[in-house]
Symmetry: C2
């Protein structure tokens, strides 16, 4: 019988669960709102509910053999424990794998969401075939996952890969992490909007001007669209965003000498407006040989990267278990 | 019979060769000036001469089974080829291992000098027992070697570990590598002297003042001694040096989550004047958990780190070959 896994991607807003086959094909998927609860068991209840729904939907396609879970947290993957989940503090310190495994009677593997996305892109996405790769996700924040010799880099406590908190301005903008000048403050989707807000008075002709002053919601996609239309404020925002992202990636090129850097997340939509700035900074700041080696590729899997990474880990788990 | 290896550490100024036993004990050592030749075979001649001298000296102690060579260059370790040696351009592109192996009739393993130092400290020095460690050498430049899961990180082309060229000031001082704002420009022994030169006019009472204005040679050790005596210019130089080193190491703490960071090289002599600044910046810039995890340790092996790392690699080679 065909072997399948369940993969869940728990975000601050949505919980997505899917049934995935060995080729990375998503056979069924469902999406729930992440409960705004202070109780972990309420979150577990929604996860198991979604998982059972998937299980029923693919009953005739094969047998579910394991569960992979991507969570927005640092994790102890070996013991299945969530260490710290900044946006879902109810989960701090919980034995996630044991709880879900107890409900579903399946082995469960836990992973950080950015690491899962890197594993997903490596399995079925842009970095497939490249065993030394870096995956950067430009969303609300800047997430990162590093694959070396085909394995995700976890570090001693599972906290490795925090690319978004490389310091690119020692006296720069304060960051939610407690530091300042993190690349997340310059190159996330959030940062692009902040940059146009900060610079708007210098660009009274900007297409974004009305939107920014009327304080209607302005997104990084609005900035991208203005930039495509030649708006100078928008182009300057993407220049700054690419400049700083390039500095952080140049550091990684010098330190890790990777084959591939995959860039995804909402702000990657602005690719054609920022990628040449990123490339210029990598060439300016990194050594020539590793700079020439590191291919810059756009992520392929979109929102499914985390799900597919979790699925991959679940299949790996079933090989061991 | 007791198995021994020869280990060579080729620097821009000196070539050091030693015979080393399986416990990392140096049984004999010799030092030559590095030939200022434009011909690689002249350098090879001095290396083999030094190697034969060591071989004869330990003839009665055991049998030499392999050679490990640390070189100031990026290398293709698998093929024994020097890729680029910025301070010894005669060696660019040469088949180092084949040449030395042909002369000495022994297997030869080649490694970058900073990587060798990291391996040496891991085998017999400060990071012994820690399989995830970073080794930083503060000399003329800032060198680096990274050990993950007990293995040196080489990257795809053998250029990984260039910690000295992490950017800590995006619009900062120009660096010899072609970039600007590299930590090497702020935290090397050379940089400490440059910082006091730049700041001297603000500190007319400095103990270093006469030395700096008479332009007699001022070294980082002079700055350290002035700092120990309470000199404010010297203390400010070490504050800046520690501040920027801390930012670069905080990046590595966030990205790699290591157990140990070993700091060596000439400027590490100023340890008690800069290490609290380094620690403060790591705590300010990195996430709490990996910041608390990363022990800062002073290198133990001094100038022998490279030799012992090369020796370790030679013993490993003999296990495989």
């Amino acid at each position: 019988m065909n072997k399948l896994v369940l993969a869940t991607d728990l975000g601050g807003t949505n919980l997505r669960v899917a049934a995935v086959d060995r080729d990375g094909k998503i056979l069924y998927r469902t999406k729930y709102e992440t409960p705004k609860s202070e109780r972990a068991d309420e979150i577990f209840r929604v996860i198991t509910q979604a998982a059972r729904k998937c299980q029923e939907a693919v009953e005739k396609n094969g047998k579910i053999i394991a569960v992979g879970a991507a969570v927005p947290a640092t994790v102890n993957a070996a013991d299945g424990i969530i260490l710290k989940a900044p946006n879902l503090p109810a989960l701090d310190g919980v034995r996630f794998s044991a709880a879900i495994s107890g409900e579903l009677n399946l082995p469960v593997i836990l992973e950080n969401d950015a690491n899962s996305a890197a594993i997903g892109e490596h399995w079925r996405g842009a970095s497939n075939g490249f065993d030394n790769s870096i995956c950067v996700t430009l969303g609300t924040g800047v997430g990162g996952g590093i694959i070396l010799s085909g394995e995700i880099l976890r570090g001693v406590d599972g906290t490795a890969g925090e690319i978004g908190h490389i310091c690119v301005e020692p006296f720069g903008a304060p960051c939610g992490c407690g530091s300042r000048g993190c690349v997340e403050q310059y190159s996330s989707a959030t940062a692009i909007v902040r940059i146009v807000q900060e610079l708007k008075n210098q660009y009274p002709q900007s297409l974004l001007f009305e939107k920014l002053f009327k304080k209607t919601h302005c997104t990084s996609l609005d900035v991208y669209e203005a930039g495509k239309a030649g708006d100078e404020l928008a182009l300057e925002a993407f220049r700054q965003m690419g400049f700083y992202l390039g500095i952080a990636l140049a550091d990684l090129v010098n330190v890790l000498n990777p084959e591939v850097i995959v860039i995804g997340g909402g702000a990657a939509a602005g690719w054609d407006l920022f990628i040449h700035h990123v490339r210029n900074q990598i060439y300016s700041h990194a050594f020539r040989e590793p700079a020439e080696r590191a291919k810059l590729l756009r992520a392929k899997l979109g929102d499914d990267a985390g799900i597919l990474g979790a699925a991959r880990l679940a299949f790996n788990l079933s090989l061991i278990g």
